[in-house]
Symmetry: C3
Subunit: 100 residues, 3 copies
């Protein structure tokens, strides 16, 4: 059993963006993702990327270069218009060679 | 595109605690959170913070000092009475300046 | 309040594997887990462990030796037959002594 260090990107966005986001992720090299229905809440005086209402939480395991492309795309094409949250974390993946 | 290192706190608790928890998180400085319905299960001989039944999984991205305050509050006001799970992980966040 | 460094293992699998997986996790020493209904999607030309359709996302906080046993089991008994995703990340857990 071999573990491969990869990146886990988590995106939380309005549900209406789901298909556009997963299409973009696929185009940029993500080979799959896990989608969970979520609900966002924020403080009354919104200070950050709160997402009140129906959201999706999309998780994808990707190589570092694909992660960079995804984060860049979120910054370029989503953040101006939508309250998207995006973050990246280090994970070690079994069967990780299938993700790169 | 700039990534900012922040903390991701995940809390799993009985659903009934949701509003109290999110109220406390907001008061301590969290500007938003992602809530997912979850189900907990544990071994028959409960050894840790298992949470059988209907739970919520609350995720919030915060600065290190806010993270400390949240963890301290969980330890002080929840852990004695409830089977709450709380853990913290390092993440890098796009548009992270909005969370601090 | 004391934080204990532990491992968070996330497994995404077809929903039908849920009880088998949680039984195996318990047998290998996990004392509880958080289960979320998820949906998987992948690119049309499947390259990795995509999981289209109804899935479960199972999260468990365990000690490093239990984490090793779980990952080994996934590699030995699941990966050949199922499109299971498994990854491990470092977390710091409140009340962590209850998990080991």
């Amino acid at each position: 059993m071999q573990l491969i260090p990869l990146k886990c990107i988590t995106i939380v966005a309005e549900s209406i963006l789901r298909d556009r986001l997963t299409g973009d992720l696929t185009r940029l090299g993500a080979s799959g993702f896990t989608i969970v229905e979520a609900r966002g809440e924020g403080s009354r005086h919104l200070r950050s990327g709160e997402l009140p209402g129906e959201n999706v939480r999309i998780e994808t395991i990707v190589s570092p270069p694909v992660a960079d492309r995804i984060l860049q795309l979120l910054a370029d094409e989503y953040f101006h218009d939508y309250a998207v949250i995006g973050y990246i974390a280090d994970v070690s993946v079994i069967r990780g060679e299938k993700y790169v």
